[in-house]
């Protein structure tokens, strides 16, 4: 990165929204043929910076140069002309389009007024094969593709425009581990072809594996530019949050008690089979598996959201009739679910912090048969202090809170009900590091207070750091039962991909290749 020319240069970018200063003299320089990481907590100004780049926000001051040419106040289309392309976190492809139609949308191959559909399809297949060795069935629609395949289509779209700079905005959020590895291969290849790449991610190990330089943003300001090969992720994390993250995974030490959730022979045809697990009081039980392994279906079944074919579920010694398994029964039995889709299922975005907090236990705030606003407020303020929820007030709509604080509200809902068995589905996805640590601390507190936690996560370091035991699912079965102190992420992953069966099979013999 010392000799290559500068591809993208942002100088002294400031942007205010009302009284909030989102960006304060932020700088970013990216060179051709290198990957430039951009990290920061949520609210640090990353997304504002990207939106300035994409022409969505006009900066109050500062300059943007692409390939040495000064640009100011450009439309998205002109930005593309300048050679700046974006791979967004969400796939911006219409679901009912064919690959060819999606790939060439806005730049269709045409003769006269007519779109040359079959030529587009053929070109699309050729490009995907040549660039990424991806072969898709003929006539396949975007909605039938996996997240990773859609992303490859998205990247191919960007490449059609001959980009000088490619910006990846949280590209791996929807990907599973081996797809992430694939994507990293693609990014490296693009770097090799001389494109400048800006890579934004919450996952610091990706930054470490991929980036040549990293810019750290905090409160809208550049706080450091570091070489991730020399500076460990922990140090980068500390720069981001401006405090030591020495104890990222606060470990609680609780001796597990009786089994509070006992599952035997649980089967849902086509999803998972013969699942047995015990969750004990004061225990954090980790559960992980790739997409399609049955983990998601299992969690939904445990909360009574999808029906079960056979087996038994026992909660605190009481067997639950499978036929009538429904959330409201399990809720009464003391179960709480923190769903993965926080914004859609975890909280009601338009309701206030107070309404969300008290929603799950409304009967507790009754007075003369009506809701007592005073009692509700008391409880909400209590939870706000306990969990450290940052909000403008108990009446603020949850929509206005940051991701981490929304997650805390989702948790507060169950805490105010005094639930004691928690099913946490990806509790830290999309939350910045500082808030993650707080969520981890809260999980630790939960078990200290005698709750039991089933932690479903695809973040392996998180699982290893928090869990007392880890179950790994593969193709609908529990394929491994690990103790975190005696294993590592590679072993968990090998088990999840089916590359290795648990300890009793020696690693490394006859591994079937996975992609």
């Amino acid at each position: 990165m010392t000799t290559a020319a500068v591809a993208l240069e942002l100088r002294g970018i400031s942007k205010n929204f009302g009284v909030t200063r989102a960006l304060d003299q932020a700088n970013l320089t990216a060179h051709y043929g290198s990957v430039h990481g951009l990290v920061g907590e949520n609210g640090a100004g990353k997304s504002t910076l990207i939106k300035v780049l994409a022409g969505i926000h006009t900066p109050d001051s500062g300059t943007v140069r692409v390939g040495g040419v000064l640009h100011a106040g450009l439309t998205p289309r002109q930005i593309e002309k300048a050679g700046l392309y974006f791979i967004h976190q969400e796939r911006l492809l219409p679901a009912s389009f064919t690959v060819g139609e999606a790939l060439f949308l806005g730049h269709e191959l045409h003769r006269g007024p007519f779109v040359l559909r079959s030529t587009q399809e053929r070109e699309a297949r050729r490009l995907l094969k040549a660039n990424f060795d991806l072969e898709l069935p003929e006539g396949v629609l975007i909605r039938d593709l996996s997240s990773a395949e859609q992303q490859v289509v998205q990247i191919t779209r960007a490449l059609l425009g001959k980009p000088r700079v490619l910006v990846f905005d949280e590209p791996t959020v929807a990907l599973v581990q081996h797809e992430v590895t694939q994507l990293q291969g693609i990014v490296r290849r693009l770097r090799g072809s001389g494109i400048a790449i800006v890579y934004i991610s919450h996952y610091l190990h990706e930054i470490e594996a991929l980036c040549d330089t990293v810019t750290v943003l905090r409160n809208g300001r550049n706080v450091a530019q570091v070489d991730p090969r020399k500076v460990p992720p922990e140090a980068i994390a500390e720069l981001m949050v401006n405090r030591a993250v020495s104890d990222m995974y606060p470990k609680s030490h609780v001796a597990p008690g009786d089994s509070v959730l006992r599952v035997r022979g649980l089967t849902k045809a086509g999803a998972y089979e013969n699942i047995a697990l015990d969750l004990r009081q004061g225990e954090i039980l980790g559960l992980t598996g790739l997409v399609g392994s049955g983990v998601k279906e299992l969690v939904r079944s445990l909360f009574g959201l999808t029906p079960v074919t056979s087996g038994s579920i026992e909660i605190k010694g009481r067997s639950q009739p499978l036929r009538t398994l429904a959330p409201h029964r399990l809720l009464r039995a003391g179960l709480a679910l923190l769903p993965e889709e926080r914004r859609r299922q975890g909280v009601a975005l338009d309701l206030s912090v107070l309404e969300n907090t008290t929603l799950a236990g409304l009967s507790r705030w009754r007075r003369w048969g009506l809701l007592s606003r005073r009692k509700e407020l008391q409880e909400t303020l209590h939870q706000m202090t306990q969990l450290g929820i940052k909000t403008a007030g108990a009446d603020a709509p949850v929509r206005t809170l940051s991701g981490g604080n929304q997650q805390k509200v989702a948790l507060a809902k169950w805490l105010s009900r005094h639930s004691d068995i928690y099913l946490l589905d990806e509790p830290s996805v999309g939350i910045d590091i500082g808030a993650k640590v707080e969520i981890y601390r809260l999980i630790g507190q939960l078990v200290e207070q005698g709750a039991a936690v089933l932690l479903v996560s695809s973040d392996l370091p998180e699982l290893l750091g928090l869990s007392d035991r880890i179950l790994v699912m593969h193709r609908g079965h529990i394929a491994g039962d690990f103790v975190p102190s005696a294993t590592n992420a590679d072993q968990l992953l090998a088990c999840a991909t089916g590359a290795a069966v648990q300890q009793d099979t020696p690693l490394g013999h006859a591994l079937p290749p996975h992609d």
Binding site: P76, F86, P94, A95, F97, L105, G106, P113, V115
Partner: protein, 325 residues
């Protein structure tokens, strides 16, 4: 990697939608062919096409708006004012024609009226951001009012060369209305399913954010879809005026059939999307039902019931599909 097949219920829904509709169509044709006298005669088939023309052209307009606004029944594109637009345009044409204005003036003023209604709808939807359901419901009332002012709620009989040509014209044994219906359908099918404009309009309707990211001016596209819909309303007004020899009252009653046809058309597309070709099939399906019932001397009121049942089936099946995503 191991992927699970989609749940049973959704596979059934998909199968029903993809295969069921064409099968049902053929089945209905077969039943009528066997039971109703003269059903398959050229004269009768041409008659069905001609009778379908008014509903069909209106349904084309609605289809375009649904393509550009998305096919969600509540929040997507919708033009409830189409049938009333027909009424107003027919009234404008009849009044001007009767007042002695030339053919060009009358025709131009009628088309402009249709486009103006479309422009108002489009402007309210695009720039005021009102949901199309409410915006076009409001303009429906407005247009009905204007029509009443113009006609004082009476029938305005009128005749002109154009109307005579439309009602009496006949090429190769096929009535002019049938030609107009097929011609308009094919032209719009080319525009929406094979041109860059059409493809982009689909992108705008399905995923506006993606269209915007691809540099497509989303608002102009949506606005233009309402203009096209207005033009369809005006075109249908000529057909209606030819059919009834003047403007009639109560054209707003066509609305439910038009909505039914446009949503029914979705099942005739392999990707389960609104399309002009699908709407052509749906129009003919309804036309054949109505015609077959007449030939069999069954009350045509039954057709309403069957239309209703079909809408219910289609909407239920497509919402089941949506739930799978």
């Amino acid at each position: 990697m191991h992927t699970l097949p989609p749940p049973f219920k959704q596979r059934i829904a998909l199968l029903f939608l993809r295969r069921g509709a064409p099968l049902a169509f053929l089945l209905i044709l077969a039943v009528f062919a066997l039971t109703a006298p003269n059903f398959l005669s050229i004269g009768n088939l041409a008659n069905v096409f001609a009778q379908s023309a008014i509903l069909g052209v209106l349904a084309f307009g609605l289809t375009i708006v649904i393509i550009g606004g998305g096919s969600n029944v509540v929040t997507g594109g919708l033009d409830l004012s189409l049938a009333s637009n027909l009424g107003l345009c027919a009234a404008v044409y009849a009044s001007l024609n009767n007042a002695g204005y030339g053919a060009t003036t009358s025709i131009a003023a009628t088309v402009l009226t249709g486009m103006a209604v479309g422009a108002v709808n489009g402007a309210v939807v695009v720039w005021l951001g009102l949901p199309p359901l409410l915006a076009t419901l409001a303009s429906l009332n407005l247009i009905n009012g204007l029509e009443l002012v113009l006609t004082e709620n009476t029938v305005l009989p009128t005749s002109s060369v154009l109307l005579d040509l439309l009602s009496g014209g006949n090429w190769l044994g096929v009535p002019a209305l049938a030609w107009i219906f097929t011609g308009t359908g094919l032209l719009l099918a080319l525009l929406l399913q094979h041109s860059r404009f059409g493809l982009r309009l689909y992108a705008v309707g399905e995923y506006a954010e993606a269209a915007r990211a691809a540099g497509i001016p989303v608002r102009s596209y949506v606005f233009f879809s309402y203009i096209l819909s207005g033009i369809c309303g005006a075109l249908a007004a000529f057909l209606s005026a030819a059919w009834f020899s003047g403007s009639t009252t109560g054209s707003g009653e066509l609305l439910l059939s038009v909505v039914a046809i446009a949503f029914l058309g979705v099942v005739f597309s392999p990707r389960v999307l609104p399309s002009i070709t699908g709407t052509i099939f749906a129009t003919l399906l309804v036309g054949f039902l109505m015609n077959g019932f007449q030939l069999l001397n069954i009350s045509s009121f039954w057709v309403n019931g069957i239309q209703g049942a079909l809408i219910l089936l289609v909407v239920a099946a497509s919402s089941m599909l949506r739930a799978s995503k």
